[in-house]
Each structure stands twice: as structure tokens, then as C-alpha cells.
């Protein structure tokens, strides 16, 4: 995590956009299990809960948190930001660090393959078995990178605007399988997509594991404080219990070899 940039992280008095309140951004719509019912202010869903926990650590009460909705590209654009921090399953990479600040990671993510149960692919146990399949993923996600770098399919993967489009293409049979992050995969197969099942999760990539972090404006004075908050949430076990509450079943998918 980057060092606290000199600023003292005095509770409830950070140099935020609106003094005395913390503006947290996220996309619209947002999806379970990260946020439930497209309602970030409910506190329900993993990232919503994490957001409130961070706010709490920074000294902001629940009603001092304001939510703002920012599409992906607007979140990463170079102009003045409309949020103090943004939690929308942003994966931390060095390339991206050129453009924005990231907090310490709040979640280690794995990618998973989802297929319809009646598709022969549903029984696959190895990555090699996926190489000839028609695969799809959402644009702007590391799921797409995972397809290209780990599965290396023979045909170009389909890229969709949203996971909704990907899901429809999957049920229509226009793709054989889609790759999403593991928590999403569990949510899809258990609640949303009848007859879909998780084929397995992809092995962790080489090098640093993929992690989600909060996005802040490049050079934001808050980055250090947010990172400290995340670190202490991890240390005191809060993150683990939030994960337990919202992403409980994430552990039990077979790993593809």
C-alpha cells in the first residue's frame, strides 16, 4: 500500500469533496453479490458493506456517506472526479496505477467458468478442454484478460457490454461458456440462471494474485488514509466476516487444471 501522503487521517475531517461527508462512487447498474438490488446505500452486498466499514474507520457515520453513480469510463477519466473513492470491482494493475490511485486490496478474486448444464462443456475438468469453445466475457473486466492469457481459445472470445448481455448469449447458446469472477459465478448459478453451472475456477495467475481495490483520483490526499483503513479492517477480521456474510460459498468450486 502506498504510504499515507503526509495527511493526518483525522476521523471525520478528511479533505473530501464535500467536507464532513464521504462521497463513494459506483457504477449504475451494479450487480449482486457486490451490491444487492442495485442499491449501494442499503449496506447489503459485499462492496456496500466494505464501503460502510471503510467509512466507519475513517470516522464517517452511515448518514455521512453519499453515494454517486459513475459509469466505468467516467470513473477513470482524467478530469476532476465526482467521488472520493470508488468501489466497483476494480482490479489493481500497475498499468492502471498510471492513471488512478488504488487503495490496499480488499478482496482477492478468482475467475470462474460458467456454462449451461446441458452443454457438453459443463463436464470439463481441464483448461485445455475449453480451448475450442466459444467463450465470452464482459468488457473492461479482468475476466477477459483471463480468457486470453490463461485459456487462449482458438476463436476470438465474444465481448459484451454487460454481464446481462453475456448471460443472455449464454442461455441463447450463442456462446458455450462465459468467464466471470467467482462470487458473480456463484450468484449467477444459484439465483439467476436456471440450468447454469460453474465448470470450475481458473488457477491463480502467475505473479501477484488479482485483487480488488478502491479507486481514488490520481494523487488523492485520501489514498493513504483509505489504505490504512482497509489494512486495519483486514487486520481486525472485519473484511473476513463481511466476505463470510456475502460471498460465503465462493470457496467450493473445483479448480481447472
Amino acid at each position: 500500500a502506498p504510504p499515507a501522503s503526509g495527511a493526518s487521517c483525522e476521523p471525520g475531517a478528511l479533505p473530501t469533496l464535500t467536507p464532513g461527508s464521504l462521497t463513494i462512487g459506483t457504477d449504475q447498474p451494479v450487480y449482486p453479490p457486490w451490491y444487492l438490488d442495485d442499491d449501494p446505500a442499503s449496506g447489503r452486498g459485499f462492496e456496500s458493506a466494505v464501503a460502510y466499514a471503510i467509512a466507519g474507520k475513517l470516522g464517517y457515520s452511515r448518514d455521512q456517506v453519499t453515494w454517486t453513480r459513475v459509469p466505468f469510463n467516467a470513473a477513470i477519466q482524467p478530469g476532476p472526479k465526482t467521488y472520493d473513492l470508488n468501489l466497483t470491482e476494480f482490479s489493481i494493475t500497475d498499468e492502471r496505477r498510471q492513471a488512478v490511485d488504488f487503495s490496499s486490496p480488499y478482496y482477492d478474486v478468482r475467475q470462474a467458468v460458467v456454462a449451461m448444464a446441458d452443454n457438453p462443456l459443463a463436464g470439463a475438468t481441464s483448461i485445455a478442454a475449453l480451448a475450442n469453445a466459444r467463450l465470452g466475457a464482459q468488457v473492461g473486466t479482468t475476466s477477459l484478460d483471463a480468457i486470453q492469457q490463461q485459456i487462449r481459445p482458438a476463436s476470438t472470445p465474444a465481448v459484451f457490454n454487460t454481464n446481462d448481455d453475456a448471460k443472455l448469449a449464454l442461455t441463447n447458446g450463442q456462446v458455450d461458456a462465459i468467464v466471470v469472477d467467482l462470487p458473480t459465478a456463484f450468484f449467477l448459478t444459484s439465483a439467476e440462471l436456471e440450468g447454469a453451472r460453474i465448470v470450475g475456477q481458473l488457477p491463480p495467475g502467475t505473479g501477484t494474485p488479482e485483487q480488488f481495490g478502491a479507486v481514488l483520483d490520481k494523487g488523492s490526499p485520501l489514498t493513504g488514509c483509505v489504505s490504512t483503513a482497509v489494512d486495519s479492517l483486514r487486520a481486525d477480521g472485519t473484511l473476513a466476516s463481511i466476505e463470510q456474510e456475502w460471498l460465503a460459498s465462493a470457496g467450493n468450486a473445483p479448480e481447472l487444471q
Binding site: Q28, P29, A74, Q77, P78, G79, P80, E192
Partner: protein, 287 residues
């Protein structure tokens, strides 16, 4: 040869004229019936084919769920209201800028070469650049400069971008109209002592605009929908509203709803064009 005797010009129709009128009417009626019947038949066949398909229940649930349509209506309508507001402002700006560029592009003579070249360059640039990318560049790039006095409101920046891009298209439409007016009309105007501006305004443009009304309205119908692209900057238009609703319910009915609303919005535009064209044709005796 017989001539010289004229039958009285009957205010009443003669039996012959009546019979012919009846024949024409009956033919028109028959062809209406044939067209109607074949349309109904064709539509019916397609409908049966679709509704009896194995996937139909799924499709019906996914695309045509009345409960979801009803519940998403307020959000989609609110989004549409944004489209309409931006549309009105943008249209005014586009007409003015597009017309100006078209007039510059149609100036003749070597003296005006540089002006023409600039106008051509403008059209090439702004017509060529994808609207989405223009929105990113202007909507994100301009505020990022952090210059004082530059607007940062996304609706304002989005509207400016729409005007810049669409005026390039509209300029080409006007140009076609201006160039289709026979040069002898310009000669007549100039010979009466009208200035270039007056000839344009009073003689060339009235004829030009009438001729290109359909493609002009094309651009405005397209704009009605492209206005929605400013939602990439953060505003929520009808399509984005539909997307949000659709994501909430994992159902595509809100998109269908938005489509229906857009079609309803576009239909009057088409009828206005038809009415205007018919009126001026009737006046000029072309009917």
C-alpha cells in the same frame, strides 16, 4: 373530322365519368384489400411461426413482460425526458451551424478556396469521428484541462459535442439541397440585384430545404436516439434507464419499452415531413 361543337361543361359528372370514377375507386379498394389481406396473412404467419417456436415462452418472458414494462415505465420516461430536452437545444444549434458550413462549402470561385477548404476539413473531421469518442474527448478531455471558464457540466459538454458532430452531417444535407437548385435560379436572383446572402436566403434555400427535408429529418430522428450517448458521461437517458431496469430484473422488456417510445417519438417527425412536402407540392401544382 368534326369539331366546333362543345358539350356543356357539366358541373354534374357524366355517366361515363361516374363509371370511370367508380372503376378507379373499386380498383383502389381492391388493391387496399389485397395489400391488407397479404399483410395480415404474412404477419399472421410470422406471428404463428414465432409463438409456436420452442423458445417462445422464454422470449416472451424475457422481452415482453407487461409487469416489468409497467414498473420500468417511469424510469424510462424520465430518461426520455432528458433526450427530448437535449434534443431541442442541440437541434437549434445544429441547424444554424450546419447551414453556415453548407453555405461556406458551396461558395464558388478561387477567392473562396481557403474558406471552402476549412469547411470541408470541418466536415471530414467531425463527420468521421465516432460520436462516442468525440464525447469522451470533449466530455472528459476538456474538463481535465482544468481551464478556468470551461464548462464542466456533462449535459452542456455533451450538447456541444452533439452540435459539433451532427452539424457536419447536416451541412452535407444542406449542401446537397443547395447544389441541386439549378444555377439559372441563382443567375435570376443576382440579375435582380440580390446580394449573395439574399439570393441564398430568399431563392436558393427555400427550394433547397424543401428538397432535402427527408434526409434532414433523418438526421433529427437519428439525433433523438444519439442524444442518449451523452449518458456515457454520466447522465441517464432512456436507453441507459432501460439498461438499469433491465439489469435489475435480468429482463429485456425495458429495452423493448424504450424502443416503442422512440418509435412513437419518431413517427410525428415523419408525418410532419410528409405534410410539408405535400403542401408545397400542391401549391406548386406538382400534385
Amino acid at each position: 373530322m368534326t369539331a366546333g361543337t362543345t358539350s356543356a361543361a357539366a358541373p354534374e359528372l357524366s355517366p361515363l365519368a361516374q363509371e370511370r370514377l367508380r372503376y378507379r375507386r373499386s380498383r383502389a379498394r381492391r388493391s387496399t384489400l389485397v395489400a391488407l389481406a397479404s399483410t395480415v396473412l404474412f404477419a399472421g404467419a410470422v406471428a404463428v411461426g414465432i409463438t409456436s417456436s420452442p423458445g417462445w415462452p422464454r422470449v416472451q418472458d424475457t422481452f415482453l413482460d407487461p409487469a416489468i414494462a409497467w414498473s420500468s415505465l417511469p424510469a424510462v420516461l424520465e430518461g426520455l425526458w432528458l433526450n427530448v430536452r437535449v434534443l431541442v437545444v442541440a437541434e437549434a444549434g445544429i441547424l444554424v451551424l450546419g447551414l453556415a458550413i453548407a453555405v461556406l462549402r458551396t461558395l464558388r470561385g478561387p477567392v473562396f478556396f481557403p474558406v471552402r477548404a476549412l469547411a470541408t476539413g470541418y466536415v471530414d473531421l467531425f463527420r468521421g469521428v465516432p460520436l462516442l469518442i468525440a464525447l469522451y474527448l470533449i466530455g472528459f478531455g476538456l474538463p481535465a484541462l482544468r481551464l478556468p471558464g470551461v464548462p464542466t457540466d456533462t449535459a452542456v459538454l455533451g450538447t456541444i459535442t452533439l452540435i459539433l458532430v451532427y452539424s457536419a452531417y447536416v451541412a452535407e444535407v444542406f449542401r446537397a439541397g443547395i447544389e441541386s437548385v439549378h444555377p439559372s435560379q441563382r443567375a435570376a436572383a443576382r440579375s435582380l440585384g440580390l446580394t449573395h446572402r439574399q439570393s441564398m436566403r430568399l431563392v436558393v434555400l427555400p427550394q433547397a430545404v424543401r428538397r432535402v427535408l427527408p434526409p434532414l429529418l433523418n438526421d433529427f430522428v437519428a439525433l433523438q436516439k444519439d442524444v442518449g450517448l451523452i449518458s456515457v458521461l454520466g447522465a441517464v437517458d432512456a436507453i441507459r434507464a432501460a439498461q438499469i431496469e433491465s439489469a435489475r430484473t435480468f429482463n429485456f422488456t425495458p429495452y423493448v419499452l424504450a424502443a416503442v417510445l422512440f418509435v412513437l417519438l419518431a413517427i410525428p417527425t415523419g408525418r410532419v415531413a410528409d405534410a410539408l412536402a405535400a403542401r408545397s407540392a400542391r401549391r406548386q401544382g406538382w400534385a
